[in-house]
Subunit: 252 residues, 4 copies
Amino acid sequence: MPSIDLNADAGESFGPWKMGSDEELFPLLSSVNLATGFHAGDPLTMRRSIALARKHGVAVGAHPGFPDLVGFGRRDLAVTPEQAYADTLYQIGALAAFLKVEGALLHHVKPHGALYLQMLRNEATAEAVARAVRDYDPELPLVLLPNTPMEAAAARVGVRFVREAFPDRAYLSDGRLAPRSLDGALIRDPERAAERAVQMVLEGKVAALDGGEVEVRAETLCVHGDNPEAVAIARAVRRALETAGVDVRSYR
Amino acid sequence: MPSIDLNADAGESFGPWKMGSDEELFPLLSSVNLATGFHAGDPLTMRRSIALARKHGVAVGAHPGFPDLVGFGRRDLAVTPEQAYADTLYQIGALAAFLKVEGALLHHVKPHGALYLQMLRNEATAEAVARAVRDYDPELPLVLLPNTPMEAAAARVGVRFVREAFPDRAYLSDGRLAPRSLDGALIRDPERAAERAVQMVLEGKVAALDGGEVEVRAETLCVHGDNPEAVAIARAVRRALETAGVDVRSYR
Amino acid sequence: MPSIDLNADAGESFGPWKMGSDEELFPLLSSVNLATGFHAGDPLTMRRSIALARKHGVAVGAHPGFPDLVGFGRRDLAVTPEQAYADTLYQIGALAAFLKVEGALLHHVKPHGALYLQMLRNEATAEAVARAVRDYDPELPLVLLPNTPMEAAAARVGVRFVREAFPDRAYLSDGRLAPRSLDGALIRDPERAAERAVQMVLEGKVAALDGGEVEVRAETLCVHGDNPEAVAIARAVRRALETAGVDVRSYR
Amino acid sequence: MPSIDLNADAGESFGPWKMGSDEELFPLLSSVNLATGFHAGDPLTMRRSIALARKHGVAVGAHPGFPDLVGFGRRDLAVTPEQAYADTLYQIGALAAFLKVEGALLHHVKPHGALYLQMLRNEATAEAVARAVRDYDPELPLVLLPNTPMEAAAARVGVRFVREAFPDRAYLSDGRLAPRSLDGALIRDPERAAERAVQMVLEGKVAALDGGEVEVRAETLCVHGDNPEAVAIARAVRRALETAGVDVRSYR
């Protein structure tokens, strides 16, 4: 029976401010990437998000970001590799402590926002983050976008990694994600995203935005947690996968 | 052969700003309490401070504080027990990650500044911090001031704890530290601090500021790291202890 | 024709996180207290909130708070008077700059949350904040709770001040606000809050929670902006005041 | 009698952490650029730095930077023009308030670190900062590096601007500052820096690092405040200028 992990960014509230629909979203997922205090997520939020994840049997990963709360970690920041390494390690350890007191283990690490994007084009940053994950625990998977400098850096560093794909994003025929500026880059229709998710898992390919098909192989599918359609998309994707006989469960 | 631990707060630089004389101080100590990012100490500083501590064979503990950088964690903040627990756990985990990648273990936890002082008078805060330490690792010692509500709370919670004494602070005959506002509360003469350190270890008592003697029993002596005389006091204390045949080494 | 100002805290979003219903609330008010970056409100939020206020002809005041974003300025912080003065001045100046570029003037200052509460019991803090307001502009009104140490301090300092009352909070017969822990301290029924608002303005008194009546004289009524009923209460209060022939407009 | 302004970045302490030698430096300068809380400088530090500046008759400008304390505003941050505008305005207003209560006026604005550097290559950022300065006060000068996109943007926006030059930095024959990576880019010898300062003022040109001479015309000379030789360089520059009959005084 084929299986796939379904992940989303979560735990992105901060202090008195709420973000996302974690209560509705978590039952639909098999893993979550929890904000770790630098771009969102304070210690209490982290604790509560872990409790929610465990209630629903969802695996918990760390979602480290740039130290830019007001910018939500979405603005590129020119960090040195040493800073990227240390900031990542700090955030991993902080989240892991909340899991440890629950007798649980950190499941994976997935960088957030502008840090993730910087890792797609800057190998020094990508290597630094990958080394932090590997040094912390050689068995800990780093979630990444395949066929990118990020994957090359991870392979060089020797970190365990897991490839992700985006059923609600269009791909170009060369394998890259279609830039958000292109018409049709974002797939807002839950049923269409669901159909693409099934194709990705069962066929390993989807239609490309610029014509033809593109190979997309992944161990985890990401549904975006911070848009209004997030819950509807997650629900449709999960239902379609299960209907197609795909087991939605995490990879470890 | 009698033995004692010698500790100081350290790693209290932040970003471009330096504080303290860690390079000179570490060789004189057997353990350090490293700032963990909330009141001082950023991820890079934590990493470098651990490298320095390991170079000198010094045990590394976490020094969590209030999230108040501009106030250096020295201003009382009305946290809830839930916040005290979560903030402490977050900071412990963050520091522990830097030790883990070095193959080292977190040695102890000693709260900082206004958090430490709040634990001396607020049992709910003291219990919350003690629970965070115990939940993280039942063998992890919490360094505290004996004969205080802080110790009572720690005992109730069942955390392992280690008592500290201050050779450069005067005591009252009832066992309490003399308030800093009293004349003579701070002992700035390195030789006098050193003499008191030896007395504390060998006799378990020192002269009280208000007359008579006071029992002072501790497993660790703290020398303050952030005043100009810190290095001179640490050097005098260490030399006097060794001359008196006391082994300066950590307690675990 | 009697008149009254109607104020609410606003502009309390931060970065990507939204708070409150400013779009619905502003048309119902005559003045707003905008967060100034320390407990909520970032520069862009401040700019947008001022644009919204000006669109609706609402006077804009500064709402300085403690530098405690994660605690939303609601946790008491042991600041020195020098810190309270400097933090207040900093925040006033920052907001005033956004008004200056619009050709508008800062209308008033109303401290936020735990800072406001600290001013009710700590005269040194109250005087420091009052001095900051007066030094910045001797004509700038400080909004405060009458019959408190806060008012006494303001009078001593010689700052211009404006008294506020709370139609959605119960009062005790001695003039104090009923503590939130008492049953009935919060008035959630919009119509009842509205009725009390009219009484406060036309009669200068309302029923006390512990029996009898209590004098309540104020130049501005505050409706809380951060609870779900805020808009309903503001709407009911405004309508009732206008129906009773009270002119809702600001005091300067 | 020829005259020139001598400026340095200052007020860059933060909370308990000291930076620079403001007490020794201020008597040697005619203007200072004070950190405004985002990359360094807290409200109390701002207040004290203004007092020090006024004691020595030094003009006070704002030195806004990116909101990146741990990185000291030296890491490039991908801000939008709206954010650059709002962040600049916020910081200008905050500093201006401390001057206002002293009956003094804000003298100029000089962006800090990575913000200044971003303005050298990104015209949208440069325009946004220039608009913030102009909108705040059309008479307020923006200090900038001439012959750069920063100057072009300032000219387009119509902000008043003042050109600065660096006697302790080498120039290339095309007018640009020599990149720090080149040998000889930094001039550490106080006497040589002093000699270049005099040349810049009296002849409007200096020797270029790559041969020949380069025109350097400026209304203000910057001496770096955060290196160990800062005071020695400032002293030598000032003495040489006065010896050469140049009046060291500010431009407004």
